[in-house]
């Protein structure tokens, strides 16, 4: 073990366990405080950044304002290991406690090792910090049984079973508790919280039955989708309603999502566990750092915030080329690695991509009512913005045409989200059974799994052979076809993939021939 687990006290040296974040992972940090005679000074070493240096003033004031003595001595604080960059104000509290222990103002009565994180304000109040759930997971893995965290974070840390979490409101409380003067009770786990603002229902979308069916398949099997259609045909409306039919998060998935939001500081006040799939729709002006995560100060980007949920990119070709290309690696691996001088950081990014675009720059190519005014060159340029490798990774391609006047005026509501969701939930259960794993979907199958789970009867096989010949399908397209067919078969509650499943699936693979054929075949 790289550090001594016990908050030890030897003479004028104190050691307190704390932690920092590296991406969304918690990393243990030993806070060592040495107090010696000499000219009074207060130095922090161990690769602290500016925000940690500033904590000296907060700590000094907080200790004084809590009616405790700030020692007039030479104080040296070391944050070990010294090769990880330490950021943020979460070390305020452990350093303050270390100083009090080293100056013998505090002698912890605790037998068990404990971990402390928290930001101090000048009056000694403890303010919440980011990423507490990741730190709690780290504490559990390192078998640290007790955690002292800011009161507002405590229910979030308590989500992790096996550790006792105490929520602390101010410095005085913690000092008195450690001295055995007062008792506190451990915090209770957090309630669930909502992150998606939009709520609608699929029955509000008029017509577009085939698009709805395609989105149902996509949601059931976690397949990437691209929708092509003229302005106003309902692409955005359809996408926004996707969260209402997505299957619920499993416990492991919910924890992953909560970790990411906690690290990014996006959990609402009081914290909690996120139990709905995220839906992110960044604007097309987004920067590369905003999409994949900051580089100098790695924070999760949109693709990580969409982890286990939907990343909706409206006006797909309008996104910057480098932003779109950056999606390739995460779409393949389900995670993103950001490399820096001090090692690399992995962010989970297993999202379902839902893209929408017009069929040409003016939007009316092939429209029944309006004429397209684009030149052939403009159209080709527009489509060439979506590169072959990106398109290859999208399982389902659909057209969302202009609504016919009759459908528009008729007032028959479509099928409600709750009916669709029931079917999807059933398919989700099939998949959990199939993969014996709370994370997997048909859309995420590896080639080996495709072979195992997409077995075909001889008549279906011959049909497929015919299709491959006719459409000149590549090996990758063939795999995609089988994955989508598997989900369709699941929706039809069929154990085997039947002819009709294949025939439906092939419909979702033909758009690229219509629009991209010239360039990519």
């Amino acid at each position: 073990m790289p550090f001594n687990l016990k908050g030890i006290l030897t003479g004028m040296l104190a050691k307190v366990i704390s932690a920092t974040l590296s991406g969304i992972e918690g990393v243990p940090v030993d806070v060592e405080v040495d107090i010696s005679n000499g000219l009074p000074s207060f130095t922090i070493v161990g690769l602290p950044d500016q925000s940690v240096q500033e904590s000296r003033e907060r700590i000094r004031s907080a200790i004084k304002n809590s009616d405790l003595n700030f020692p007039v001595k030479r104080i040296t604080v070391n944050l070990a290991p010294a090769d990880i960059k330490k950021e943020g104000p979460a070390f305020d509290l452990p350093i303050a406690i270390g100083i009090l222990i080293a100056s013998e103002a505090l002698a912890p009565k605790m037998e068990e090792p404990f971990l402390i994180v928290g930001e101090l304000s000048l009056d000694g109040t403890i303010r919440p910090v980011n990423g507490i759930i990741s730190i709690a997971i780290m504490a559990r893995d390192l078998k640290i049984p007790v955690m002292f965290v800011p009161y507002e974070n405590s229910s979030e840390a308590a989500l992790i079973p096996g550790i006792k979490v105490y929520g602390i409101k101010n410095l005085t409380d913690l000092v008195q508790f450690l001295n055995g003067a007062i008792s506190l009770s451990p915090s209770e786990p957090a309630r669930s919280i909502k992150i998606n603002e939009f709520s609608g229902d699929f029955n509000e979308v008029k017509g577009q039955e085939s698009a709805k069916r395609a989105l149902e398949i996509a949601a059931a099997g976690f397949h990437n989708v691209i929708m092509v259609g003229p302005p106003g045909s309902g692409k955005t409306m359809l996408a926004q309603r996707l969260p209402t039919i997505l299957p619920p998060l499993t416990e492991e998935e919910a924890l992953e999502v909560t970790r990411i939001y906690s690290s990014a500081g996006l959990l609402p006040k009081g914290g909690g566990i996120i139990e709905e799939r995220p839906f992110r729709s960044p604007h097309h002006s987004i920067s590369l750092a905003g999409m994949v995560g900051g580089t100098s100060n790695p924070k999760p980007g949109e693709i990580s915030l969409a982890h286990n949920g939907v990343l909706f990119l409206d006006e797909f070709p309008e996104f910057r080329r480098d932003v779109l290309e950056a999606l390739r690696q995460p779409m393949e691996d389900g995670s993103l690695v950001i490399s820096r001088a001090h090692g690399s950081i992995r962010f989970p990014a297993r999202f379902m991509l839902v893209a929408s675009m017009n069929p040409c720059p003016c939007g009316y190519l092939g429209d029944t009512k309006k004429n397209c005014t684009c030149t052939q060159y403009q159209i080709e340029k527009y489509f060439s913005k979506i590169s072959g490798p990106i398109l290859d990774r999208i399982d389902i391609q659909i057209e969302v045409p202009r609504l016919e006047t009759d459908t528009l005026i008729r007032n028959t509501p479509g099928e409600g989200s709750n009916f669709i969701r029931d079917r999807i939930n059933r398919v989700r259960e099939f998949q959990i059974d199939r993969f014996k794993d709370g994370f997997r979907f048909n859309g995420l199958m590896t080639p080996r799994e495709i072979k195992k789970y997409c077995r075909l009867n001889p008549p279906v096989q011959s049909l497929l052979r015919e299709i491959i010949d006719k459409f000149h399908l590549s090996a990758r397209s063939y795999d995609k076809l089988l994955k989508v067919a598997r989900t369709i078969a699941d929706l039809n509650e069929s154990e085997f993939i039947r002819e009709e499943d294949i025939l439906e699936a092939i419909q979702y693979r033909i758009l690229d021939r219509k629009y991209w054929e010239k360039k990519f075949s």
Partner: protein, 130 residues
Amino acid sequence: MKNKRALGNLGEKKALEYLRNLGYDILAVNFYSQRGEIDIIAEDKGTLSFVEVKTRTGKKFGDPEESITLKKRERIVRTALYYLHSRGWPRLSCRFDVLTVKIDPKTGDTEFNLTRDAFQLEGDTYRYVG
């Protein structure tokens, strides 16, 4: 100019009296080094205290505490290091105090304001461990 020196001497005399009454054990007065001067060096309950005395007659030039500039602090710290060196680095904790003496020129009334631990070393420029 002469007046100013006289005022300073008067203030320091009163300051010594005041510190003695507080129980400070005076070790040196007007300790000079090449790098500067410390008005009073005293021991206060086991802590070595370097006292800077500031005397003022009115509020015209602001509070006396304000006149301890960064440069002045540096001089005091360097002189303190020299003092510690000349005494063979005693194993004591140290402190910098500022004592302001306000003298009313008409009545001669004096008012003291002692700030213990008025400032500390910034960063790790001075590496002295007692």
